[in-house]
């Protein structure tokens, strides 16, 4: 017997009111990941959490050092939950992003998270093989700190997906920051 889906049961995905932590100065926007209310899950559905856990630098970009040693990088993701049956978006597309990771410049960049070994105060490069953000990140690790809305691991979605109905599109991106015009 085919079990009913969330939608056929009349259960809907409802966004929770979410307490937002305002990032440090210099971070103009507050990411708002899509998080839906827990419901009783039938066998044909599950509740999932999606995070960007971190990133690795195998080779830094060509970048000036005027804004910190080597690269300063932030992660972002566009997220859309949609109904496969109609190809219509269930949630409005959102874009979430982290703080920058790189050289904190002995306090010159207070909103930046220290990562990398290009200088004593950080900076992402590949001079020692590979750098990671966050600094203690292990790509193979499964025990993660609680996800955050503005730093790694970055929460990008939490909610229910049911068979044949919802699909989640995640478009991750990494940006080299030059402390100028923002694109995310």
């Amino acid at each position: 017997m085919r079990l009913p889906t969330l939608s056929s049961l009349g259960l809907s995905l409802v966004a929770l009111g979410f307490v937002v932590v305002v990032p440090a100065a210099g971070q103009a926007r507050v990411p708002r990941p899509t998080i839906t209310k827990p419901t009783i899950m039938p066998a044909t559905a599950g509740r999932y959490r999606v995070v960007i856990t971190g990133f690795a630098t195998a080779k830094e970009t060509v970048d000036t050092d005027t804004d910190g040693k080597r690269d300063e990088v932030y992660a972002a993701a566009a997220v859309v939950l949609w109904d496969r049956r109609s190809s219509a978006a269930i949630s409005q597309p959102t874009v979430v992003r982290t703080r920058e990771y790189g050289d904190v410049g002995s306090g010159r960049y207070p909103s930046r998270m220290r990562a990398g070994a290009a200088s004593p105060s950080g900076g992402l490069w590949a001079g020692n093989g590979s750098d990671y953000a966050p600094a203690e990140f292990d790509p193979r690790g499964t025990a993660l700190p609680p996800p955050s809305m503005y730093q790694l691991p970055l929460m990008i979605f939490e909610g229910g997906l049911s068979e044949g109905v919802e699909a989640l599109l995640v478009v991750p991106s990494l940006w080299e920051s030059d402390n100028a015009q923002r694109h995310t």
Binding site: Y48, A56, T57, K59, L161, L169, V171, S173, E176, R182
Partner: protein, 135 residues
């Protein structure tokens, strides 16, 4: 309008029904794919411009690298038809793809952002996306 505003207001209908997303939807596993580049005559967006036309299309053309170093830019640019393009990386997640996961389990995929080594870009990064089943 910038990249983020384009996503929020540009409309995603064509994106969701694009061959790259449909193909990802049909795959049995969670993986990542690059949106195909647009042809030179179909420049959809310029990440460095103030106006983003065409909404979300997955592939963006950067006609000039002259301002590199002054503006934020996506890592993972590639040359295409005498221009530099950024192609969105897409990951499609469904319950069916994750059916083998029990609550508490997860899977991590690596999303590469590699650039050619000979065009003043040179970056090679990898982002890690983890999906966990929590119920």
């Amino acid at each position: 309008m910038n990249y983020e505003a384009g996503w929020r207001t540009g409309g995603v209908g064509k994106f969701l029904t694009s061959p790259a997303v449909v193909n990802q939807l049909a795959r049995a596993e969670v993986t990542s794919a690059m949106m195909p580049p647009h042809s030179q005559g179909d420049v959809v967006a310029n990440l460095y411009a103030t106006i983003l036309t065409g909404g979300v299309a997955g592939s963006y053309s950067l006609p000039s690298l002259a301002k590199m170093g002054e503006l934020d830019r996506p890592i993972g640019l590639t040359p295409f038809q005498q221009a530099t393009h950024y192609q969105d990386r897409v990951v499609v997640i469904t319950h069916e793809k994750l059916a083998s996961l029990r609550p508490g389990m997860g899977t991590t995929i690596a999303v590469p952002f590699a650039e050619p080594m000979d065009n003043f870009l040179n970056g090679m990064y990898t982002a890690y996306v983890r999906v966990e089943r929590i119920q």
